[in-house]
Amino acid sequence: MAMRVPRTKAAAALSPHQPLEWTIASDVLAIERVVEGVVGLCTASGFSAKQCRFNIPIALTEALANAIMRGNGSDASRSVRIRSSVQMTRDGATLNVDVTDEGAGFDIDTAGCTPDAPDWLEREDGRGVFLMRSLMDRVECTRASDLPGNTVRLVLHRA
């Protein structure tokens, strides 16, 4: 796993304005360290305890698992890039996390389902997008015209 954490490895000592970037292999075992890094950034930026222990870890785990397994098809030759930053404003702070895969692309608006789906209580998979949308303030999916893969952006305002 290739991991790049610029400037410092100590999340607790990070400036809240300092973005974090990783490039990881398509291996779900890489998820935990990325989640720890982003949670560290948000903790240092004053996000609430619930956001740091609940909203962010779950939504980011979903986005990373989606990129690794659905976007890249768990293809070890493909990578996932993550860029995480907190924008500080006079009134608060906003977390932006971009998760970019190298796959053929998918439509996040049609991926997964909602609790109103008839098989919701029966199916094993398909709840990830619903959880991301429920736990973040905004979830966007973009696709560059000249590059492979999707970028899923998670946006959360500090509570």
């Binding site: 075992l29 609940f54 029966e122 094993e124 398909g126």
Partner: protein, 114 residues
Amino acid sequence: MSFTVVKERETVVIEVDGQLVVTNRQEFKQVVLDEVERGARSFVVDFSGSAYIDSSGLGALVSLGKRIREAGGDLRLAALNEDLRTLFELTRLDALFPLFATRADALADAPAGR
């Protein structure tokens, strides 16, 4: 992240230590399915040591609950913190599993004979 299996009379209790997520859901499923194969039918999952569950963890519980019910058994969930209860309510999976405040409550609710 690890799982500990404890026998309480006829009920198998699985203690979840840490997250139940995409990285360990297969291990979790195998632990429970092994007990089903050995004949266990009454299960309690104790989340008192668990931080959070993602959609893969929820999916594993849904899958196991279905398998256990088909075998004539039942799966109860115990000691979920406020966050985890929120997660089950958000996903409406609280309609699928009995949620108990404590492990003792879940064990006390075991079907007759278990």
